[in-house]
C-alpha cells in the first residue's frame, strides 16, 4: 500500500468565492484512518482554515456527513484505504446550501423535523408517579426507526428533496413513523394530517437511495411506503366508517 493519498476537497469562502472549487491535499494513507482523520490532518498540518463539522468520531452524533466520491457518507465511518490509490473527492452534502467549505446549512431539515412532531403525544397524561409500560414486542415495532441520528445523509441522497425543497424528506417522515408506532403515543392522527399531502409522504417516488446510504439501517424509504399504506387505509376508513369511529 502506497503511504500517501490525495484528497480533493471542496473549498468555498462566502466572502471571496463566487462558487466552490476543489483543492488537492496529500495526506498519509494509514490503514486505521478514516476520511475524517485525513481532514483533521489537513486542518492540523496543511491548512488550518479548512472548515468541517465533526464531533464524536464513532458514528453516534451524525455531524460529519459529507459526499465522498459522489456518495453521501459519515466520514468517521469511511476508511481511506477503501479508496486507495485515490484520489478521494470530499464534497459537502448535496441538496443543502453550502455555508463554507464542507459545512452546509441544515436549518431546513430542523424545521421539517419539528413539523412532523417527533415526540410522544398524549391525549391524557398519566400522573407523574405512574409509568408507561412497554413490552419488548411493542419496543420492537418502532426500534429500527428510532436509530436515526439526524445525520441527514438521506436528504443528501434524496433526488426528490433535491428537485423539490418543499418535500418533508426521509428522516422527518421516518421519525414521525417512529412515534406513530410507539404504543405510548396517541398523536398518529395529528401527524397524518401534517404528512399525508403532496409535500409529505406522497411526494416520495421511492427511488430508495435514502435507505441505501443510511448508516444506521433505519430504512426511511420503507417507513414512507408503510406510512402511505396507513394513510390509504385511513382514507378508506373515512368513507366506510361513520364519522368519529376512527
Amino acid at each position: 500500500m502506497a503511504n500517501r493519498i490525495t484528497l480533493e476537497v471542496t473549498r468555498y469562502h462566502p466572502a471571496h468565492d463566487e462558487k466552490p472549487r476543489l483543492e488537492a491535499y496529500e495526506v498519509p494513507l494509514r490503514k486505521e484512518w478514516v476520511v475524517l482523520d485525513a481532514l483533521n490532518y489537513i486542518k492540523d498540518h496543511l491548512d488550518g482554515s479548512l472548515s468541517f463539522r465533526w464531533s464524536c468520531r464513532m458514528g453516534v452524533c451524525g455531524s460529519c456527513g459529507m459526499t465522498v466520491n459522489g456518495v453521501p457518507k459519515l466520514t468517521c465511518a469511511t476508511f481511506l484505504s477503501d479508496y486507495a490509490p485515490g484520489p478521494v473527492r470530499v464534497e459537502p452534502m448535496k441538496n443543502f446550501p453550502v455555508l463554507r467549505d464542507l459545512i452546509v446549512d441544515t436549518s431546513d431539515f430542523l424545521l421539517k423535523l419539528a413539523k412532523s412532531k417527533p415526540w410522544i403525544i398524549r391525549k391524557v397524561e398519566k400522573p407523574l408517579d405512574e409509568e408507561y409500560f412497554q413490552t419488548p414486542t411493542q419496543l420492537d415495532a418502532y426500534k429500527q426507526f428510532s436509530m436515526c441520528i439526524n445525520c441527514m445523509l438521506c436528504y443528501a441522497a434524496c433526488q426528490v428533496y433535491g428537485l423539490d425543497p418543499l418535500f418533508s424528506g426521509p428522516a422527518a417522515i421516518a421519525l414521525a413513523q417512529r412515534y406513530n408506532l410507539d404504543s405510548r403515543d396517541q398523536g398518529a392522527g395529528e401527524r397524518l394530517d401534517i404528512l399525508s399531502h403532496h409535500e409529505g409522504i406522497w411526494g416520495c417516488t421511492f427511488v430508495g437511495e435514502c435507505t441505501k446510504v443510511c448508516p444506521n439501517n433505519v430504512d426511511p424509504a420503507g417507513a414512507i411506503q408503510q406510512y402511505k399504506l396507513t394513510a390509504t387505509m385511513e382514507w378508506v376508513k373515512s368513507f366506510v366508517l361513520p364519522r368519529g369511529a376512527k
Binding site: 468555498y12 459522489g70 448535496k94 441538496n95 453550502v98 427511488v207 430508495g208 411506503q225 408503510q226
Partner: protein, 135 residues
C-alpha cells in the same frame, strides 16, 4: 429592512442537473421502472383492442392480427414485454418494503411477502398459457 441582528449568511446553492438520472445506475433503474408504466398502459390498450375485435367478429380479429404482425408493432410489443416484466419484478421486490407484517411479534422476512406474489404470477401465467395453447 432586514433585521441587522438576524444571522443571514451568504451560501452557495447547487442545482440538480436535468440529466441527474444518467449519473448512477440506481437512478437510471428508477427512471426505467417509472417509465415502464407507459408500456403497461399500452398493453392495457392492446388488450382492450383485442377484446373489441373479438366481439366484432372473426374478420375484424383477423385484421387486428395482421396489423399486429407489422414489424413496427412487433418491435413495440417486444420492448413492451420487456418493460412489463421489469415492472412486475421491481413491484414485487419492493412490496416487502411497504408491508411490515408482524406474526407473533416478529416481522415477516421480505421473501415471505415477495414469494407469494411470484407464485401467483407463475400460476396465473400458467393458467392463461394452458387456455391459449390447449388447441
Amino acid at each position: 429592512m432586514i433585521n441587522p441582528t438576524e444571522y443571514l449568511p451568504k451560501s452557495y446553492h447547487t442545482r440538480i442537473s436535468t440529466y441527474w438520472w444518467l449519473t448512477r445506475w440506481a437512478y437510471l433503474k428508477f427512471i426505467l421502472r417509472e417509465a415502464s408504466s407507459v408500456f403497461v398502459a399500452w398493453i392495457v390498450v392492446l388488450t382492450l383492442l383485442q377484446i373489441r375485435a373479438l366481439t366484432d367478429g372473426p374478420a375484424e380479429y383477423a385484421e387486428l392480427q395482421k396489423w399486429l404482425q407489422s414489424p413496427l408493432l412487433l418491435a413495440l410489443n417486444a420492448v413492451s414485454f420487456f418493460f412489463v416484466v421489469f415492472h412486475a419484478v421491481t413491484w414485487f421486490n419492493l412490496a416487502p418494503k411497504a408491508m411490515a407484517i408482524r406474526v407473533r411479534g416478529k416481522r415477516l422476512p421480505g421473501l415471505a411477502i415477495a414469494a407469494p406474489n411470484y407464485v401467483a404470477w407463475a400460476a396465473i401465467s400458467a393458467a392463461v398459457a394452458w387456455i391459449l395453447l390447449r388447441g
